[in-house]
């Protein structure tokens, strides 16, 4: 129904009306919103609430959950250790091919994770480009181990951290670093005592994002690390498997991941949902 604001309607003083929202925008917007929210509602409606507690405590769920939490945390730690310096390099130095390097860093963001898993196998597998020597010299092989899960997660999740931290670094006032340099601080000291504390919120946000991405990792993990309960079967893999046997168990595990996602959103609310 085409409507115009009726002149009789009282307006708040000092607040000019922006006019009605046109329906060609409103209708798709509401459809989109429903599409995003309804599946989550379905998850909540079909959850086996009476048996939820017992199922959460079952060995199968617990093993998957513990494995997921530890590997995601380890992957985040590795990403911080390697990703923050990489972000600094991209944001603070000039070298030939820097744009290419930045593009390469973001490739795993858009690459289907399964492809990432294949690529990891080709490089780090027992017959892989590097994995071959690793196996020859140490008798150790990464694929299908818990460490392999971490490797897959780092590959997929670290770009989130790098992109986030690089943005935070570009957003800081570099004159503080100059001030530190005039006080005699070397570049390493400047990074440690000025740059890092000033981008700490950005690093934290990047780490949370990285962690949640690692927690939800499926494709690269199943390809590179396989699906062994207690060793490489993380929650997303367990969900996939359980869905074929007992959907209730899958729903419970899904609820756990949903709860974690909501928690992450709450942690990041100032950055994303806090926008006016």
């Amino acid at each position: 129904m085409p409507v115009s604001t009726s002149p009789e309607r009282e307006r708040r003083p000092g607040r000019p009306s922006a006019g009605r929202v046109p329906w060609p925008l409103l209708l798709p917007a509401l459809l989109g919103l429903g599409f995003l929210v309804l599946p989550l509602v379905g998850l909540l409606v079909r959850a086996p609430w009476p048996t939820l507690g017992r199922r959460l405590l079952s060995a199968e769920v617990r093993d998957a959950l513990v494995l997921s939490l530890t590997t995601a945390t380890a992957a985040t730690a590795v990403s911080l250790l390697l990703g923050v310096p990489l972000a600094w390099l991209l944001a603070r130095t000039r070298f030939p091919g820097r744009r290419v390097v930045r593009a390469l860093v973001t490739v795993p963001l858009v690459l289907p994770p399964v492809v990432g898993g294949v690529a990891l196998l080709l490089v780090l597998g027992r017959n892989g480009l590097l994995g071959r020597y690793l196996y020859e010299w140490t008798g150790y092989s990464l694929p299908f181990t818990t460490a392999g899960v971490v490797v897959a997660q780092v590959f997929v999740a670290m770009p989130f951290l790098v992109v986030g931290v690089e943005g935070a670094l570009r957003g800081t006032d570099r004159r503080y670093e100059e001030a530190a340099a005039t006080l005699g601080a070397s570049r390493w000291t400047v990074f440690r005592r000025v740059t890092l504390p000033m981008v700490a919120p950005g690093v934290l946000a990047g780490a949370v994002l990285c962690w949640s991405r690692a927690l939800g990792e499926f494709g690269a993990t199943i390809m590179f690390a396989g699906n062994f309960p207690g060793r490489t079967q993380t929650v997303p893999l367990a969900v996939y498997l359980a869905m074929q046997r007992s959907p209730e168990a899958a729903i419970v595990l899904s609820l756990v991941l949903l709860a974690v996602s909501v928690l992450v959103l709450v942690l990041l609310r100032d950055r994303w949902t806090g926008a006016p």
Partner: protein
């Protein structure tokens, strides 16, 4: 300044597309040099080059005779007070001041002791544990100075040290800063666009315009005998350029309307002539007694400064005149009115161009 023992001896050449800086600086121990100039003149560029934050295209920087041209900022014996202070927001005040000594390898305890002593000297004992942003602008300025002095620099650089303060605080902070600078044994270079700041804080003033030094001298000398329109406007002096023949100076004005100034001391050739706005008297009718410097001019604008009034006049020459509010009322001046402006020959400063 003596040519012997300069703490700072620098020739700064910076070339960038659309901008060039080429200036020589010498500052002796305990001396304060002010770089005065309009925005974009290259003052901050010069300061950054001295600090080692900007590479030179040519020239050199010597501190106590040691060539530091190739040294990065962290290895120069320099302390910098930045325009908006740039106190580290994540560190407390005392940690900010101790930062430099810590970087120089001083043990934490001693660095802290030194920082607390410096803060006490600045009258800031109470806020050592506070975060910088909780401090007032004047306090932040003193913390920034303490932080710069904590590294025991030989060269102290101040970038618009009072610009971030409101007019009221500025006066008291300026007086304190003047005392601190007087106590500093090394050389100080301060950048400002405020002539008063330069006059109060510095022993010498170097005027920069378009990346080059246009005038250098003692503050009073620069104020009394400006050499460019910028400096003249800055110090509030009427400045003209012309050709002198005896005590008569023919001014380079618009053709057909050349004005002639009569001065007290005879000169020959190209000269500057300057007189302060307070030396100008205004009359509605041609004054009697035939004063030699009298011009009929048109009132262009009237500005109030407290109980003083500055009148801008145009015509054969542009003149600023300071009169009292009472005189303004008596003359009933308004824009467009024609009045007679009179200046005594003895009030006109005349010097070679």
């Amino acid at each position: 300044m003596t040519s012997g023992k300069a703490v700072l001896d620098a020739h700064l050449v910076v070339r960038r597309p659309g901008f060039g800086l080429d200036v020589r600086l010498r500052v002796g121990p305990g001396r304060v040099l002010a770089l005065l100039g309009p925005n974009g003149a290259g003052k901050s560029t010069a300061l950054r080059a001295l600090a080692g934050l900007l590479p030179l295209s040519g020239g050199h920087v010597l501190v106590d005779g040691v060539d530091v041209t190739a040294e990065p900022a962290e290895r120069r014996p320099v302390g910098v007070v930045f325009q908006d202070y740039l106190l580290f927001p994540h560190l407390s005040v005392v940690e900010n001041v101790a930062f430099g000594p810590r970087c120089q390898g001083m043990p934490a305890r001693r660095a802290r002791r030194l920082a607390l002593d410096l803060l006490a000297e600045m009258g800031l004992d109470g806020c050592a544990a506070a975060r910088p942003r909780r401090l007032s602008g004047g306090q932040q300025q003193r913390v920034a100075l303490a932080r710069a002095l904590a590294v025991r620099p030989r060269l102290l650089l101040l970038d618009e040290p009072l610009a971030a303060l409101d007019a009221h605080t500025r006066v008291s902070v300026r007086a304190q800063l003047r005392r601190r600078l007087a106590a500093f044994a090394g050389a100080t270079v301060l950048v400002t666009h405020d002539p008063l700041e330069a006059m109060v804080l510095a022993d010498r003033v170097l005027v920069l315009e378009d990346g080059a030094a246009v005038q250098e001298g003692a503050p009073a000398e620069v104020a009394r005998r400006p050499r460019t329109g910028y400096v003249a406007r800055l110090v509030g002096v009427n400045l003209y350029r012309g050709r002198a023949a005896g005590t008569r100076v023919r001014l380079a004005g618009p053709p057909g309307a050349e004005a002639v100034l009569t001065v007290a001391e005879p000169r020959e050739g190209e000269v500057f002539a300057a007189f302060p706005p307070r030396a100008v008297a205004l009359y509605r009718d041609r004054p009697g007694g035939s004063p030699r410097n009298a011009w009929p001019l048109t009132v262009d604008g009237v500005e109030h400064f407290g109980d003083q009034v500055r009148v801008h006049l145009t015509g054969a020459l542009e003149v600023s005149a300071d009169i009292t509010a009472a005189a303004l009322a008596e003359l009933a001046l308004s824009p467009g009115l024609r009045v007679w402006a009179v200046v005594k020959a003895t009030e006109v400063e005349c010097y070679p161009a």
